[in-house]
Amino acid sequence: MTGSPENEIYICRCEEVTREEILAAIADGATTVKGVKIRTEAGMGLCQGRTCRRLISQMLARTRPPSDIYPPTIRTPVRTAKIREYTNGEDDL
């Protein structure tokens, strides 16, 4: 696996996680996008997996049926937001 140029591609750009590292996490037993995240930190960066969760899902789908793969939890915010934006709001928001 090592040495192949395509394995050096960054799947998660924010956390600089390569294809090789994702494959290693799947080989280690990860069966979900979250499982890959726990092992590699892919998806934990600034964009919160907006690009890599699809790529990682595809890679997982080669090892088990897509119907068996849990999607990752998407949580607020929908885009990065300044703390001030939360604290300046109306109290009955």
């Binding site: 956390e15 726990i38 949580r75 915010p77 990065t80 300044k82 703390i83 939360y86």
Partner: protein, 389 residues
């Protein structure tokens, strides 16, 4: 598939992983079953703190100190980098009431062996940028630290595997195997495990499984919501907590009449920064059943509280929030030990917000009780049967 083991462990959070490692290292045949994946529950949605100053002076603090001593060399012991750092920590003091509570708390903690003192606001400001002007001061201890909860859990798991433990993920536990009243293992989606000892380490979900044995555990899920910022250059020095957390946890009577939303949600500051630079801002302590959602009102209250105490945070960006269910017990101490009248069942759950900090010592205590019939110190305060009428 049917398996046999000396110990079947339910739960792949930090507590189950720590116990799996200690038992496997002691030569026991271990099978651990985890419903989703490692650190998928409260372990993976926490504030990473190994905070000693927040522990009640007594057995609670003593166990945290002993746990902290294990963390010191744990990367080497596990041959796995867990990112444990002892950068010290502070607790903010905002008013005379908190000053009185924290002074008394710190005095008692010193007697247990914690290095802690009250420092002025000016001294605190040298350690932490951006602190609010109205603070009267802070407590400070050089012994507080933090650890990467994912790496810690994986470190325990990998080391347990090296000692022969079988670790199953995606393995849901449906119930227990019973034989003439004795618990003889577990039934899981990956087969039955027959075991001499069954260790229930399912955190806030432990009562759900215990119920199948007509066993009512005094554990309740308590939701903790945490906000995560973009990665930034080092900003938070060590860990910062607020005195309101200590007051709410150990002197709830002082706040009993408060109508404030923040008090109702159990908001107390917990501030720490990961090695990558993200700042974790916590947290709430809410009884919301098994609801794992984040709520707008809680996120706002957490951030209002944090920027009141550390106004310097206000220009940072939020990238994510998370929520975990901390396993609450009525006296703030976990349940660790064999369960009376349920022969073969051992429980290690109910650490509430102390799971990471107490994980290392919980594994050692469990190994002592299971392998030798006694722990290294008197742990009767953790007896899971202590609430029995």
């Amino acid at each position: 598939m049917s398996m046999t083991a000396d110990a079947a462990i339910i739960g792949g959070g930090v507590i189950g992983a720590s116990i799996a490692y200690r038992l496997a290292k002691a030569g026991k045949k271990v099978v651990l079953c985890e419903r989703y994946d490692f650190a998928a529950g409260a372990t993976g949605s926490c504030d990473q703190c190994v905070f000693l100053q927040s522990k009640n002076p007594g057995i609670h603090l003593k166990l945290a100190l002993d746990s902290s001593a294990i963390f010191q060399d744990l990367s080497k012991e596990l041959d796995y980098t867990i990112d444990y750092f002892k950068h010290g920590g502070m607790i903010t003091i905002e008013n005379e009431m908190e000053m009185a509570v924290m002074s008394d708390f710190a005095e008692k903690q010193k007697k247990i062996g914690l290095d802690v003192e009250i420092i002025s606001r000016a001294e605190a400001a040298k350690r932490q940028r951006g602190l609010a002007g109205h603070l009267l001061g802070c407590t400070y201890s050089p012994q507080d630290g933090h650890v990467n909860p994912f790496k810690l859990t994986l470190g325990f798991v990998k080391a347990a595997q090296k000692h022969g433990a079988l670790i199953l993920i995606d393995a849901e536990v449906f119930g227990f195997k019973l034989e003439s009243g004795r618990i003889k293992g577990i039934k899981t989606s990956k087969g039955d495990v027959e075991a001499g000892v069954t260790v229930l380490a399912a955190g806030a979900w432990s009562p759900v499984l215990a119920k199948t044995l007509d066993l009512a555990l005094p554990i309740k899920p308590r939701r903790g919501q945490i906000v995560i910022t973009e990665p930034v250059a080092p900003y938070v020095t060590g860990n910062l907590l607020s005195g309101q957390y200590i007051v709410a946890k150990y002197h709830p009577e002082i706040l009993a009449d408060s109508k404030s939303l923040a008090v109702r949600l159990g908001v107390g500051l917990s501030l720490t920064q990961t090695s990558k630079g993200d700042i974790l801002i916590g947290a709430t302590r809410e009884f919301a059943g098994y609801d794992l959602r984040n709520t707008r009102e809680a996120i706002r209250e957490i951030l209002k509280n944090a920027s009141r105490l550390v106004p310097g945070l206000e220009d940072l960006h939020v990238i994510r929030v998370m929520a975990g269910l901390r396993p609450y017990t009525p006296d703030g101490l976990p349940l660790v030990g064999f369960v009376k009248d349920r022969e073969g069942l051992f429980i290690a759950a109910g650490h509430e917000g102390d799971g990471i900090a107490l994980s290392a010592i919980t594994g050692v205590i469990a190994r002592g009780l299971i392998c030798d019939g006694k722990a290294y110190t008197d742990v009767s305060a953790l007896d899971p049967n202590r609430f029995d009428a």
